[in-house]
C-alpha cells in the first residue's frame, strides 16, 4: 500500500498584512509561511494509516522557500520518503491550484500510489479545487470533505461530512484522491530531536514530466478589511457602564 500526501506552505494570515504594489495580492516579502493546516491533517491521517495498515507514506511539495524544511518535518512525523517537485520561480506566473495541478498529477503518476491525501482547502485553494483537479488529471476517483479514511485491499472506506452534523460513508476503488478535512486524531507533536537528526538530510527532487497550466481567471483587486470603526470602551463603575450600554442600545434602537 502506497500513500502520497501533498504538503503546501501558505502565508500566515494572522499577521499584519500589506498589499502588493499592483493591489492584486498580499505582499509576501515580510510575511511568514507555514504548513497549511489541512495538509497537516492529511499528513497525520497518512501516518495513522501507515501505523494501522503498514503503508508507506511519501510526502511531496512544490519547491519553494522553506519547502525542504516542511518536508523534513513530514519525515520526522513519520513519512517514509519526501520529494520536492522543482519549479523555476521565474517561469511561473501563478501558484494557483489550477496552475500547479499538472505538476502534482505528474508526480502522482510517477509515484503510482494507492491513495493520495491532500488538505481540503488552503489560503490559495479556497474552494477546495486541488483534489478535483488532480482527479481530472489522473482520471482517478476523487472525494472531498472527508473526515475518516479506512483502507482494505483495493478499497477505501471514507466518511464525508455535510452541514448540520450529517455524514455519508462511501466505498471507493483505489487508487483514489482524497481531499481531507480532518484526520482521525489531531496532528501529533514531533520532538525536536527528530528534526535535529534530519538537519543534514537533503530532500531529493522528483523530476516530473509536466508544466504549470495557465489560469483561467485572476483577481483584479484585493482590499484589506475596513478598520475605520473600532470598539468603544466604557469607563467608570458598574452603574455608569450599565447606563452607557443602555443609552447606546436605545440610541441604536435595540430597546425602547
Amino acid at each position: 500500500m502506497k500513500i502520497v500526501v501533498i504538503q503546501r506552505l501558505e502565508p500566515v494570515l494572522t499577521e499584519e498584512l500589506e498589499l502588493s504594489d499592483d493591489g492584486r495580492d498580499i505582499d509576501r516579502e515580510w510575511i511568514g509561511f507555514a504548513l497549511n493546516q489541512f495538509d497537516d491533517q492529511a499528513l497525520e491521517q497518512a501516518v495513522l494509516l501507515k501505523e494501522s495498515n503498514g503503508a508507506t507514506v511519501t510526502a511531496i511539495a512544490i519547491e519553494d522557500e522553506g519547502s525542504d524544511k516542511m518536508l523534513k518535518n513530514a519525515l520526522a512525523r513519520g513519512a517514509d520518503a519526501a520529494f520536492q517537485i522543482p519549479l523555476d520561480a521565474d517561469d511561473v506566473e501563478s501558484r494557483s491550484s489550477r496552475a500547479l495541478a499538472p505538476l502534482y498529477a505528474a508526480a502522482i503518476r510517477t509515484l503510482a500510489p494507492d491513495l493520495v491525501l491532500v488538505g481540503i482547502l488552503s489560503n490559495s485553494d479556497l474552494y477546495g479545487e486541488l483534489a478535483p483537479y488532480l482527479g481530472a488529471h489522473t482520471g482517478w476517483p476523487q472525494i472531498s470533505a472527508v473526515t475518516e479514511v479506512r483502507l482494505a485491499a483495493g478499497k477505501a472506506t471514507v466518511r464525508q461530512e455535510y452541514a448540520g452534523g450529517r455524514a455519508a460513508r462511501f466505498e471507493v476503488d483505489t487508487p483514489v484522491i482524497i481531499g481531507l478535512q480532518t484526520a482521525m486524531q489531531p496532528p501529533r507533536y514531533v520532538a525536536g530531536s527528530k528534526l535535529r537528526d534530519l538537519l543534514k538530510v537533503q530532500i531529493p527532487e522528483l523530476e516530473v514530466d509536466g508544466a504549470p497550466s495557465a489560469d483561467m481567471s485572476h483577481g483584479t483587486t484585493l482590499a484589506l478589511p475596513d478598520q475605520s470603526a473600532g470598539a468603544v470602551m466604557f469607563d467608570g463603575d458598574a452603574d455608569d457602564i450599565a447606563t452607557s450600554i443602555h443609552n447606546l442600545l436605545k440610541e441604536k434602537g435595540f430597546v425602547q
Binding site: 511568514g32 530531536s193 528534526l195 535535529r196 537528526d197 538537519l199
Partner: protein, 652 residues
C-alpha cells in the same frame, strides 16, 4: 551463654539489615551512569559543611534545632552503643581507658537528655504544630522512629541508673542517671533487684537497637545512612545547567526514561535519601496553587514505584512511571523554579527528574494542546508567538534612533532581546525604554534583528532537547559571526541559557542582566537619576535571575540608587516565590492552578501595606503580574513597575 546469645542476635540482625538494605540499593547498580565522582575535595568539604553546620536544615528553625540536637546526640550516644555491644560481645572490652567512666559518661548523660528533648520537640512538631509540609508524609513511620529512638535512650539511662543503684553510690560523671537512680530507689528498688533490672534493661537496649537497625532500610530513616552520600554526589555544574538526556547505550536506545533503570543511579539514590520532611512541598508554587504536584510526593512516588517494581513492596510491578506512578498533569505542573532543590536538606534534584520524564513525553508526542501550539511555533518560526523572524525587531520602529545590527558591525554590548521583550506589546514598551536609556548613556550596543532565535531555556525545560539544541546552535552560530565584548539581556530566561546552558555546548560569553548595566551606567555618571521622588516599593526576584544565577543585589542597588525604599516581601531572594510562568508553564493552560501563583504573590505584596509599586526585572513578570493585579482588581492599590520604567522616570 549471654555472650553467645548476643553474638547470635547481633549477627542475625546485621544480616537481615544488610539484606534489606541491599534489596533497595541493588537497582542503583543497574541504573544509568552519572558522572558524580569529580572534584572529590569540593564534594567532601561541601557535604561536611552542610552536615556539620546544618546549613539548609536551620532555615526552618524549630526543625533545624531539633534535628541538630538529635543528630549530635546520636553521634555522642554511639559511644554508648559501642560500649554496650563491645562489652557484651568481647568480655573485658571497655571505653573506661579513654574516659568511658568520666568525661564520655558525662557527655552521654547530657546528650541522652538532649536526645529526649529533641524527640519530644519532633513529636510536638508532628502531632501538635502539624505544619502543612507533612501532608502526604508517612506519620506511622515517623512515630515508630520516635518510639524506637526514645526507647534506646531510655533503656540506656535505666541501665546506667540501675548500675548506680547496684553500686550504692552516686556516679559523679552521670548526673542524669544518678537522679534517675534516686527515683528508682524511691520506688523501692534494692541493689539486688537492681541487678536483675540492669540485665533486663541491657537486653532491652540491645534489642531495641537491633530492631531499629533492621527497621531503618525500609524507613525514611534510611537517610541516616544515605544522606551523606547524596550530599557528596550532589551536582557541581551551574545551577542553571540541566543535565543532558542519558547517553544512548545502543542505536535502538531512545535516551528517554521509560523504566526505573533508565534513570541514573543518582536519581534513584535521591529517591531513597528522601526524608519526607516536606520542605520542598512548602515552597513549591505549583503545590501552593493547588496543582497536582508536590515535589515531595513526586520523589516518594518514584521511590515507592521503584521498590514496587523491584518487588520489595507490594503493588503492581509493571505500573509505568508516566501515567502510572506519576501522572502527566503532575509533570506538566512544574514551573522549574528550583525552590524545592534550593531548600532540600539532602540536595535531592527534583527538577531534572521532572524534565527527564517530560523529555519522554515529548518524544512520544504527548503534549497538551496549548503547549503543542507554542512548541510548533518554535519549530516553524523560532519563537513562541509564531511570528515571522522578520518581525522580531519591529519594536525598534518607534525608537528615536536605529540600533546597530550586531551582525554587521562590532559593538561593545550585544543585546540579546528575547521573545517576550521583542513580541509582547506590553513588554515592547519596556524594551524601547531600555534602548533609549542605553542610547542616552552613549552605550555602544547592537541587536541581532531577525538573526535572533528564542534562547531555548524554557524549551529545554519543557523537555524538547532536540529543539533546544537547534535553537541554541542557531544562536551560537549567529553570535560566532558577531564582534562584541559582552552580552546584555533584560530576560532572565535568556540570561540563564546564555550564561549557564550554552557553555555545555562549547559557547562561553560574558552575560549580564540589564539591572547590572543600568546600575553601572548610573555609577559611572552616564545616567543621572533624580533621587527626590522615591517610592516605597517591593521587589520580586525572578527565579532565573536570582535563585539560578545569584542576581539578587544589582536590582536592589539600582532601586536604592534611584532613591526608592524597598520593603521586602517575606519570600525574597533565594526564597522568592515563582510567578508561575517558568518551565514552559506560560504556554500551558493554567486551569490546573486553583489560585494562580502570580495572584498569591500579589496578595503577599499587598500584605506589606504601605507599598505602591511591585517592581519586576523580567519581561514575563511584567505580563504575569499585570494580569494578576487586573484579575484581583487591585489596580488602585498596586502597580507593576519594571526597573526600566523606574530608571526612565528618574532620568527623564
Amino acid at each position: 551463654m549471654q555472650t553467645m546469645l548476643l553474638w547470635l542476635v547481633t549477627v542475625g540482625a546485621l544480616a537481615v539489615f544488610a539484606r534489606r538494605f541491599w534489596l533497595r540499593l541493588a537497582p542503583l547498580s543497574r541504573a544509568r551512569a552519572a558522572n558524580r565522582t569529580d572534584q572529590p575535595m569540593e564534594r567532601l568539604t561541601g557535604a561536611l559543611a552542610d552536615i556539620g553546620l546544618h546549613r539548609r536544615l536551620l532555615r526552618f528553625t524549630w526543625s533545624g534545632v531539633l534535628h541538630f540536637m538529635i543528630f549530635t546526640s546520636f553521634l555522642v550516644l554511639s559511644t554508648a552503643i559501642l560500649q554496650a555491644f563491645g562489652s557484651g560481645l568481647f568480655p573485658g572490652f571497655s571505653l573506661a581507658v579513654i574516659g568511658g567512666d568520666t568525661w564520655i559518661a558525662l557527655l552521654q548523660d547530657i546528650f541522652a537528655l538532649l536526645m529526649l528533648i529533641g524527640l519530644a520537640m519532633a513529636a510536638w512538631q508532628r502531632f501538635v504544630r502539624k505544619p502543612a509540609r507533612f501532608v502526604g508524609s508517612k506519620t506511622g513511620d515517623a512515630t515508630l522512629i520516635y518510639l524506637l529512638a526514645g526507647g534506646i535512650v531510655l533503656t540506656m539511662l535505666l541501665e546506667f541508673a540501675t548500675a548506680i543503684v547496684m553500686s550504692g553510690a552516686p556516679h559523679a560523671w552521670r548526673p542524669v542517671s544518678t537522679v534517675l537512680s534516686h527515683l528508682l530507689i524511691g520506688t523501692g528498688m534494692t541493689a539486688q533487684s537492681a541487678s536483675t533490672a540492669h540485665l533486663v534493661f541491657f537486653w532491652l537496649h540491645i534489642l531495641i537497637i537491633l530492631t531499629f537497625l533492621i527497621y531503618i532500610p525500609g524507613s525514611k530513616h534510611r537517610h541516616m545512612m544515605l544522606a551523606a552520600f547524596n550530599l557528596y554526589f550532589r551536582p557541581l555544574t551551574p545551577k542553571g545547567q540541566l543535565p543532558p538526556p542519558p547517553t544512548k547505550l545502543a542505536e535502538a536506545d531512545t535516551g528517554t526514561v521509560e523504566t526505573y533503570q533508565d534513570f541514573t543511579w543518582k536519581d534513584l539514590l535521591d529517591t531513597l535519601s528522601c526524608t519526607e520532611c516536606g520542605r520542598c512541598q512548602s515552597v513549591c508554587p505549583a503545590y501552593a496553587a493547588g496543582a497536582p504536584l508536590s515535589p515531595k510526593s513526586l520523589i516518594m512516588d518514584l521511590r515507592d514505584g521503584l521498590l514496587t517494581h523491584e518487588g520489595v513492596i507490594d503493588g503492581d510491578a509493571h505500573l509505568p512511571i508516566i501515567g502510572g506512578a506519576i501522572s502527566q498533569e503532575t509533570l506538566w505542573s512544574c514551573t522549574t523554579c528550583r525552590a524545592c532543590m534550593e531548600v532540600c536538606p539532602v540536595h535531592i534534584e527534583h527538577v531534572p527528574k521532572i524534565v527527564q520524564l517530560r523529555r519522554t513525553m515529548v518524544e512520544d508526542g504527548a503534549l497538551e494542546p496549548m503547549l503543542q501550539t507554542a512548541m510548533t511555533n518554535f519549530q516553524s518560526q523560532g519563537n513562541s508567538f509564531g511570528k515571522p523572524a522578520k518581525q522580531r525587531a519591529r519594536w525598534t520602529k518607534d525608537l528615536s534612533f536605529k540600533p546597530k545590527d550586531a551582525r554587521n558591525e562590532p559593538v561593545d554590548i550585544l543585546w540579546f532581546v528575547g521573545d517576550f521583550a521583542s513580541f509582547d506589546t506590553r513588554a515592547q514598551e519596556l524594551t524601547r525604554m531600555v534602548a533609549e536609556l542605553l542610547h542616552k548613556a552613549g552605550v555602544d550596543f547592537g541587536i541581532l534583528y531577525d538573526g535572533e532565535r528564542n534562547s531555548g531555556n524554557d524549551v529545554r525545560r519543557v523537555g524538547d532537547e532536540g529543539l533546544f539544541e537547534l535553537l541554541a546552535q542557531q544562536n551560537i552560530d549567529t553570535l560566532a559571526g558577531c564582534t562584541f565584548n559582552r552580552i546584555m539581556t533584560t530576560d532572565p530566561h535568556s540570561l540563564n541559557a546564555l550564561k549557564s546552558e550554552y557553555p555545555a555546548l562549547g559557547a562561553n560569553y560574558d552575560v549580564m542582566h540589564y539591572a547590572q548595566l543600568l546600575l553601572d551606567l548610573i555609577k559611572a555618571g552616564k545616567l543621572t537619576p533624580r533621587t527626590d521622588a522615591g517610592l516605597t516599593v517591593t521587589y520580586h526576584d525572578p527565579c532565573y535571575l536570582g535563585r539560578y544565577n545569584g542576581g539578587f543585589d544589582a536590582p536592589r542597588d539600582l532601586m536604592a540608587a534611584l532613591g526608592h525604599t524597598l520593603k521586602e516581601m517575606p519570600r525574597n531572594r533565594e526564597n522568592s516565590f515563582c510567578c508561575g510562568a517558568g518551565g514552559g508553564r506560560i504556554w500551558m493552560d493554567d486551569v490546573v492552578f486553583k489560585e494562580r501563583p502570580s495572584e498569591n504573590r500579589i496578595k503577599e505584596a499587598l500584605e506589606l501595606g504601605e507599598i505602591t509599586h511591585f517592581v519586576v526585572s523580567c519581561p514575563k513578570d511584567v505580563v504575569m503580574y499585570t494580569a494578576a493585579i487586573q484579575n484581583l482588581g487591585v489596580g488602585d492599590r498596586l502597580a507593576v513597575r519594571d526597573l526600566a520604567e523606574l530608571v526612565t522616570l528618574s532620568v527623564a
